[in-house]
Amino acid sequence: MNAPVSTPGLLYEGADWDFSTLMRIHDACEKVAVRDLGLDFYPNRIEIISAEQMLDAYASTGLPLFYRHWSFGKQFAQHEALYRKGLRGLAYEIVINSDPCLSYVMEENTATLQALVIAHAAFGHNHFFKNNRIFREWTDAKGILDYLEFAKGYIADCEDKHGEIAVERVLDSAHALMNYGVHRHHRRTIDLRSEEQRERERRAHDERMYNVLWSTLPERANQAIGADEVERRRAMLQLPQENVLYFLEKSAPRLAPWQREVIRIVRNVAQYFHPQRQTKMMNEGCATYVHHRILNTLHREGQLSDGALLEALHSHTSVIMQPDFDDPRYSGINPYALGFAMMEDIERICREPTEEDREWFPDFAGSGDPMPTLRYGWSEFRDESFILQFLSPHLMRKMKFFHLKDDAAQPVLRVDAMHDERGYRRLRRALAKQYDPAWMDPDIQVVDVDLAGDRRLILEHRVQDGRLLEEQEARQVLRHLASLWSYDVLLREVDPATGASLREHAVSPPR
């Protein structure tokens, strides 16, 4: 199937490809990526997989190896049903933030799609993973594959020792709190490679340590506990604590060592994915911009035929399609669309700025080559700050953004800002907020443990804009939390301005 290349200079002809074609494509893309775009990336590893394997990979959140849990089976079943009915296609690729960078490409792809995918994932995403500050600081690309291997083995071991059901119970509970298994505000150095060894040391250390929860010294009866006593206790338990899973792992009184380790695994995986949530739009924008530039350059240099470029553009345009808000297909802002539009807009500002651009972006308007600006943006920002910094009035007009205020206390919705002189800044701030996880996720922290009484765990939801928790599910999550904590749990929803309690949920652990 080694198709002879009859036109000199073309990387390939027709839809067929083999390994040497892929190699040629990769090398050509690499040349453009380094020479024209100045990208810096991990070494690439490209793996060819079948459609079924792609479904498999979907089911375990895209990771090549993962521990076993029923929820992944559920996802697989769902994807499979949609795929079989033809309601949904499969992604052309999946890329893993690891060193070397793994890209999975499907065997069904045509040669052009492979070129698109390699340019997109193996150079676009790869550069982003390696250079973005959040990824650099919060994930360990070198260690992730080894760690996943360890996690998979560890959980399989636990299943052997303690039974599938017991492990499943812990995993279910930990998954329910997964979004609260992340250190958001302070950084810890992460070295997943030595996790396995540290696991053993940790256990030994904990067994020797004093746990304030188990203090059995008689309380001085009827003596009011001073404020400094409360402070001391909270300090010993490292409270308040936003990372609920971390708190449980360290302080839940009745967990077995293996249960703590399972929680830790879920926590580490959550931490690994945390940057992806925060940079989805930029990451896709970066990859889409990179594949667009690379493929166009290859075409200009005669390495890609006209037909191939048209095929690539066809896929490209369907990926960056953004339906209007009143379109039945609308389901939120397409991260590919906004991301790519922003990158292109930055390119435009660098090359052909208008007066308005010069006023808004004096730093780089008219700087000529957009790449230094883009590379700087890709490395130093996340979605929220990137929008605040780089979204231009020109693009807001082009996308026809408007800001809708939906206050349940009001009978009507109100258009708060639109794409005009008065609205640009407010609009931009509102859009940026939509990408801020701290604003999207309810702000919940562990604040105290009632040591004098029944070891009740107390959490606080600092209510923003009057948005209370969805009650039924909150109670389900709290039940999971209580089963890990083993004692009662109380969640207080408070107004951060006044400190007034708006609603309380109390849950006892299942018997």
Binding site: R45, A59, S60, R68, G73, A408, D420, G466
Partner: protein, 434 residues
């Protein structure tokens, strides 16, 4: 840069996850399977396929904002709105593009996915506790199949096993030291070379003597001896007839309610699944009867109503005719299941009994009669309902030794126990006869 081909990796990596998921959602899936199988045709009852289960049972909860409070949406594609415009809240409350909160908070959605045939069947049967039917004996057909069975020393030339024959020949030749043709040729060449050379007469004479021995030996020891010859042997093996036909006979007169028909349908479904696992090809013939009988399709069989009297013999007569026309008993395994509420016209019993004994039963592999009744109809204390006409008729036949089975079914729950019992009885009967 590395390229790896992962396509040959073992597939089904997510199988353990899938099994965990099915275990987790077992009761829900089972319910869905039961519903799905009730809606299906008998013929497709055991195929896999899409089932849908309610989402709440397998939800993974998480903290998220409920409705209420104040929220902001930035939306693309503004057409006519200006700052300060007020828009009526859409009736559903979610808003034009609620970006969070609404997906989970909204209506209870169903979760749809596809089960394989094996998964479907095991859930379907698990629910109903299907006994291990594979162990029960079924009457085998008479048409033998020929199977290879080793080698023999006698046979027809067409069955000659060349490889085996030549192997024997070779080992015999080696054992008896028959000289190879090349060795003889080499000897002859040596003699030819030495002959005529002075001083080699003695050597030539020695070689010639040896050559003579070799030649004599190759003449005496044949290349192929009759004792080398082997033939492929075949053995007749009785082969079950690979085709079966299942007759569904049912009384559809007014007294049969939908519930009763549903019970009958479940029984037929089980029998069909059972036969399907034994035979490559299973036909189904539906015969319904009132005071006259007709062969109909499944839809008509279960869902159209008829009025009229009840003459069971007409159905048996119709079955006899169909058998004679299309299903010669030598080529088909014939199974029949009759469902009725037990009514029969008074004068018809004799004729029914005679038809069964003389015509139908001899052709059949198996004949089952199930009498369906309303739930709660039996067991009314103090007022036991007497046996029906048909029941009495058949009871006489069975006690006289006719190879048929009969059972009463009042409730869905009964179907499986009854089904199992029917087949257990059959096994016992056969063993008793043997």
């Amino acid at each position: 840069m590395q390229i790896l081909d992962r396509r040959l990796n073992p597939s089904g990596r997510s199988l353990p996850n899938r099994q965990r998921f099915l275990r987790r959602a077992k009761s829900l899936v089972q319910e869905a399977v039961r519903d799905a199988s009730a809606k299906r045709d008998i013929r497709s009852a055991d195929e896999g396929g899409e089932v849908s289960i309610p989402l709440h049972g397998i939800r993974e909860p998480s903290f998220h904002h409920g409705s209420g409070g104040s929220r902001d949406h930035v939306l693309p594609g503004n057409k006519e709105y200006r700052e300060g415009d007020e828009i009526q809240r859409p009736p559903s409350g979610g808003g034009g593009g609620g970006s969070e909160g609404s997906p989970e908070g909204g209506g209870e959605d169903a979760f749809r996915f596809v089960l394989t045939r094996e998964e479907f069947l095991s859930l379907f049967l698990d629910d109903l506790e299907l006994p291990d039917l594979a162990k029960r004996r079924l009457v085998e057909g008479a048409d033998p199949a020929w199977h290879r069975a080793g080698y023999s020393v006698a046979g027809t030339p067409s069955n000659l096993s060349l490889a085996r024959t030549m192997r024997n020949s070779l080992s015999r030749r080696i054992a008896l030291k028959r000289p190879k043709p090349e060795a003889v040729a080499a000897l002859e060449a040596e003699i030819a070379a030495l002959e005529g050379q002075p001083g080699s007469e003695e050597q030539v004479a020695k070689l010639k003597a040896e050559l003579a021995i070799q030649l004599r030996r190759s003449q005496r020891i044949p290349w192929i001896d009759p004792i080398d010859v082997r033939y492929r042997r075949f053995e007749p093996v009785p082969r079950p007839v690979a085709r079966a036909v299942m007759f569904c006979l049912m009384d559809v007169s007014g007294s049969m309610t939908e519930d009763m028909k549903d019970l009958a349908k479940r029984f037929y479904t089980l029998l069909y699944i059972f036969l399907q696992r034994r035979y490559k090809h299973v036909d189904i013939v539906f015969i319904r009867h009132t005071h006259e009988a007709a062969e109909v399709d499944e839809q008509t069989f279960f869902h159209s109503r008829e009025t009229g009297g009840t003459l069971v013999s007409t159905a048996l007569e119709e079955m006899r005719k169909v058998v004679a026309d299309r299903y010669p008993p030598t080529e088909w395994n014939i199974y029949a299941a009759q469902a009725s509420d037990g009514d029969n016209a008074a004068g018809d019993s004799q004729r029914t009994a005679r038809l069964l004994i003389d015509e139908v039963l001899p052709a059949c592999q198996y004949y089952a009669y199930i009498e369906v009744g309303r739930d709660g109809e039996h067991g009314m204390p103090g007022f036991p309902r007497g046996p029906t006409d048909l029941w009495r008729t058949y009871e006489q036949l069975v006690s006289a030794g006719a190879p048929m089975a009969m059972k009463k079914v009042r409730n869905r729950r009964d179907i499986f126990p009854v089904f199992r019992e029917l087949f257990a009885k059959r096994g016992l009967l056969e063993e008793a006869k043997a």
